[in-house]
């Protein structure tokens, strides 16, 4: 069973990476870019048959390791 997790910085947290990438894209002439924020992505496969339990496991991984809850938000999707 596979899940994807996207991790993004919380709204008011500075995103130095996104800022630099945005400036570069604008410099490269991509003028209709309004904003870009950078985050992390995980593809996680767990040995589980019940999607609910699977998601719970993935959630535990996020909280315990993958996500820095102080500055990041995350979303889990079954894929």
């Amino acid at each position: 069973m596979k899940f994807s997790v996207t991790v993004t910085l919380k709204k008011d947290v500075l995103d130095p990476q996104g800022k630099v990438v945005q400036n570069t894209l604008l410099d490269m002439g991509m003028h209709n870019l309004k904003s870009i924020r950078q985050g992390k992505f995980f593809e996680i496969e767990v040995q589980e048959t019940d999607p609910k339990i699977g998601e719970k496991k993935v959630n535990e991984m996020c909280e315990k390791l993958l996500v820095n809850l102080i500055i990041e938000d995350y979303k889990i999707n079954k894929i």
Binding site: L9, D12, V13, L14, P16, N23, N68, I70, I71
Partner: protein, 726 residues
């Protein structure tokens, strides 16, 4: 919003303090003004509990250009070269978010140094974690170390020295102190004192966001169980922007465009504008509509209290605006004139064509509260551990136990994560008593070291205070540097507790005595109170950062043994003081009694003679004997060199363990070429210095005759395994 008790409390202000505000203003402050008072009057900015004690420290000297009171201290090292340095804490943020907390700590202290016109040339850190078995320690260690490295490596300033300690007293409150050292031409130093009317006040650097709002108040409040919810105040460091800011500032500093400059540290725009105006006895009016903001709809309150990183405030000479703007635009940084100086002596804040706040500057600066908090003297207790009653151990096993313990293990797991060589002037990296950094393109260098001894300070703050200054001084001397001045970071518990305040007062007294006696003044520093959780305070942990000068660096010195058959001399007397020793702690978990006595006269004499011997080229290697005692120091000289030592036990020996593990102060080990021992003895005798010839170097083995013989390679492994297995 109506200001009620709850809001006042949320701002960390006591009711009496709020009453003083009412008295000063003769009216109620609005929320913006309250926020500004709270930021300026909290411990972090006002030094209200520490000020009267700090005043005692010696701050002047022949080589001192600038003592405390500016962004950093400045010393003169000759030929128009000056060194700028300071240490600062970032304890609370680092406990909450170790990577970003430590990173922004490094960023902040760097700004203090380059604000003064200096190019940073070295970074140091003193980091203290809880017990290694505590569930949080490993994560915090990892995060802090990569945060320090992440920032320093990216901006390209070598991290050259530090100290790392583990002790359960820091379980819930780690310490992260960062020190930066810079080099500047003596005639091109920049200060923060505003001068002149109607001068442009310029905002440069990153945009202002909602980060760290009330960070300064957070650093001044004790943690409780809910503190992990204070999360959104965490700031994210942006070393890349700081690098641009550094280069842009230094470029602008090449001419005389700048009247005053101040970085936005704790309490950001508020403290920087107040400080500059206050020093110049001027007023400042800011137009907050102009502040570059990262988020939409930011309020004046948020703008004034934001602690977004990588920002500076500059007061420019007339007509220099365009010249300065071009430089900052070249480096892709914001440059906005946000205000003017005036003669009102007020801080005036305008937003959307309305005055949103107006406070006389002196209320925020010189009229800020100063407390003479109650304090009590510690009654230190002598307690000699009866060694006969302890389980017997072998000398060799005791040594191995110490060398393999977290506190005494080799730190290369940490230091290899720091770029120590960038800038190509690091002559001695981490791993020696002090690091040596050359002044670019010259043949002189500075030596730097940071030191603390929390357990000594806990058991007898006065002696502990003296001891850390002396240990720091000894570390510089051991690499052949003449100590010049120190910076200090005073990490203590809750100052409202009279025992804690007593620890503080007495440590300062001790620091003062040692600094005065050694002519080793204090040029900058930082106080961090409220280190503790749920009424449990950390052990008092003052940290000393020292800088010394090596005027000719053709032959750098360190503690690594250089050849076979040379003689090892122990300078200074060994009494065998085991109370508070690492021997008892690591082997028996006993922490009791007094720290070793600090005899300032011997300390000074011994140090000066060692320097003299070094300058006469009579010393092959040198090492101070500190925590761990003689045998640990000898092992450190052998580990990482290709030689061992054969030690002859003194004939009259009361106790083997006292002799080899005693932590008596003022001692050094030096390696001397056999052919020069006569001359060295002569000089030592002439100067009435106590010394012992304790053995000679040999191939491969550290050996105490009739006791043990260990291969140095094995010692190396013992000393290098802990971190990699943690």
């Amino acid at each position: 919003m109506e200001i009620d008790e709850k809001i006042i409390e949320k701002h960390g202000l006591k009711q009496e303090e709020y009453n003083s505000i009412l008295q000063l203003l003769k009216r109620k402050p609005n929320l913006l003004e309250l926020g500004i008072f709270s930021a300026m009057w909290n411990e972090h900015c006002s030094y209200k509990s520490s000020r009267i004690h700090l005043k005692k420290l010696p701050t002047k000297g022949k080589m001192i250009i600038q003592g405390p009171g500016e962004n950093a201290g400045v010393i003169d090292i000759g030929d128009n070269d000056a060194i700028v340095f300071k240490i600062e804490s970032h304890n609370h943020p680092s406990y909450i978010e170790p990577y970003q907390g430590a990173a922004t700590g490094v960023g902040g202290i760097l700004r203090d140094v380059f604000t003064m016109g200096a190019r940073p040339i070295a970074l140091l850190n003193s980091i203290h974690f809880g017990d290694t078995s505590h569930p949080k320690t490993k994560n915090l260690l990892n995060g802090v170390v990569s945060g320090i490295g992440g920032y320093g490596n990216c901006i390209g300033i070598p991290t050259v020295a530090g100290e790392t300690k583990f002790n359960e007293t820091y379980n819930e409150n780690i310490l992260v102190n960062a020190m930066a050292v810079g080099h500047v031409n003596k005639n091109k130093i920049f200060y923060s004192k505003a001068k002149g009317l109607n001068k442009s006040v310029v905002y440069v650097g990153s945009k202002t966001g909602r980060d760290g709002i009330h960070g300064a108040s957070m650093a001044s409040a004790e943690f409780d169980e809910n503190s992990e919810e204070k999360k959104p105040t965490v700031q994210v460091g942006d070393p890349f922007t700081e690098k641009l800011l550094l280069e842009a500032c230094l470029e602008l500093m090449k001419d005389d465009s700048i009247i005053a400059i101040q970085d936005m540290g704790a309490a950001g725009l508020t403290s920087s504008s107040v400080e500059m105006a206050s020093k110049g006895s001027l007023g400042i009016e800011l137009d907050l509509d102009k502040v570059p903001c990262r988020e939409d709809n930011m309020t004046p309150y948020e703008m004034m209290l934001s602690e977004s990183q990588e920002r500076m405030l500059i007061i420019l000479e007339d007509g220099k605006e365009n010249h300065a703007r071009k430089i900052f635009e070249k480096w892709d940084l914001d440059f906005v004139i946000i205000g003017k100086t005036n003669n009102t002596k007020n801080l005036t804040l305008k937003f959307k064509n309305k005055i949103e706040g107006e406070i006389p500057i002196e209320f925020l600066a010189s009229k800020a509260p100063v407390y003479e908090r109650k304090w009590v003297k510690k009654k230190p207790k002598e307690k000699r551990t009866d060694l006969k009653k302890l389980k017997k151990i072998k000398l060799e096993d005791a040594l191995i136990k110490i060398l393999s313990s977290p506190n005494y293990s080799n730190k290369s797991w940490i230091t290899s994560q720091y770029d120590q060589m960038v800038m190509c002037d690091t002559i001695q990296k981490s791993g020696a008593d002090a690091a040596i950094v050359r002044i670019h393109n010259k043949d002189k260098a500075i030596a730097v070291s940071v030191d603390s001894s929390a357990n000594y300070c806990k058991s007898f703050p006065l002696i502990g205070g003296r001891q850390i200054v002396c240990e720091n001084w000894r570390n510089l001397i051991s690499v052949g540097a003449s100590p010049i001045a120190i910076t200090n970071c005073l990490n203590f518990g809750n100052p409202e507790n009279k025992e804690i305040m007593g620890e503080f007062a007495e440590c300062i007294q001790g620091i003062k005595e040692a600094c005065e006696f050694l002519n080793y003044p204090v040029v900058s520093g930082n106080v961090s109170f409220y280190n503790g959780t749920n009424n449990k305070n950390i052990d008092p942990t003052p940290v000393i950062g020292g800088v010394g000068l090596i005027s000719n660096i053709s032959k750098p010195l360190n503690h690594r043994l250089k050849m076979e058959k040379s003689i090892i001399l122990l300078i200074g007397k060994t009494f065998g003081h085991l109370q508070q020793s690492c021997f008892l702690k690591e082997n028996y978990s006993i922490i009791e009694g007094l720290p070793p006595e600090v005899n300032l006269v011997n300390e000074k004499n011994n140090g000066e003679i060692i320097l003299k011997l070094i300058k006469k080229n009579l010393v092959l290697s040198a090492h101070d004997v500190s925590s761990g005692g003689l045998l640990v120091a000898l092992s450190e000289m052998a580990i990482n060199s290709n030689f061992g030592i054969k030690i002859l036990k003194p004939k009259k020996l009361r106790n083997l363990f006292e002799y080899f593990f005693g932590e008596d102060q003022g001692r050094y080990l030096i390696e001397v070429d056999e052919s020069k021992v006569g001359l060295v003895n002569e000089i030592l005798n002439e100067n009435k210095i106590y010394y012992e010839n304790i053995g000679n170097t040999q191939k491969n083995y550290l050996e105490i005759k009739n006791e043990f013989k260990i291969n140095v390679k094995d010692l190396y492994k013992i000393n290098n395994s802990w971190y990699n297995n943690y």
